[in-house]
Symmetry: C2
DNA sequence: ATGGGGCTTCCATCAACTGGAAGGTCAAGA
DNA sequence: TCTTGACCTTCCAGTTGATGGAAGCCCCAT
């Protein structure tokens, strides 16, 4: 299978597939012409990666999960630990976003949104306690 | 005021403040020794930026908001439009994350997490519909 | 042989910083 | 006066996870 076929089958763009090879998540064979020659194993790995990414796992998580998947002697505890950590991260993120949303919703509700310059949104940004401490925690997200 | 003072006062790291100057959000004066010399105006802008960023506005949103803030003849409608768009983006993101969370929570709940290799998490990643279409929408977030 | 797709590599770009190196400046203490 | 240490400066690189685009093969059909 060429990269285009695999792409269609697993739903990942060719660029992404090449990138995954680049960072060592897959290692497809090569044809004599230099084209990547994917087998079913590669395909399944890519599909696995696509699903894991869709669940928000980081690439490094994916790398570990893939290794565990391949390891017949794995302990499900290891898999579960990764998923649980990730779940926690997601829940934190949701909470942060909900806080933002609540604040923003209030501001948007209270803003007339007309021709006049008076604006509670700007007023809040102008002064409402210390600016720091990124409530979003999305600096590194 | 030197950068360290401003940093303490507005809660943004010096690196971030320098970066904001770099991308033209602020333009502090310089002392004869080359040190940045911040006035209260700069300070307030930085505090404004810190709060806007904490609410999750992008840098470009911040740039616009800052300009509107400075413009006494602004229409609050313009501010409100930016905030409303941002609110929508956040709500979409929350919904995406909640979907991930629900799926993950189920998987974590159903995984024994012991020494045995059987694992519903891996089983799901192995095969559960097409991989594509990143439900998280966090490719460009 | 030529045209159009598909494939290859490599380099740049996105957001929003952050880390670190190499070096100048300043105030306080011995 | 010298030194020490905390500041400050600039510049370059790296982070995450791709994506866009250029330049150039390859292959098949007409």
């Amino acid at each position: 299978m060429n990269i285009g076929d695999v792409s269609k089958r697993c739903g990942l763009p060719p660029k992404t597939i090449r990138y995954y090879e680049d960072i060592g998540l897959i290692t497809p064979q090569r044809d004599t012409n230099g084209y990547r020659a994917f087998d079913l194993g590669d395909m399944h790995k890519l599909a696995f990666l696509g699903r894991a990414r869709a669940l928000g796992f980081t690439i490094e998580d994916c790398r570990t999960l893939l290794a565990l998947w391949e390891d017949q002697d794995r302990a499900s505890a290891d898999v579960r630990a990764i998923a649980k950590d990730h779940l926690t991260r997601i829940e934190t993120k949701i909470a942060d976003l909900q806080e933002m949303r609540d604040t923003l919703a209030t501001l948007v509700r209270d803003c007339a949104g007309d021709q006049r310059p008076d604006c509670p949104i700007l007023k809040t940004l102008e002064s409402s306690g210390p600016a720091q401490a990124d409530a979003a925690g999305n600096r590194g997200a």
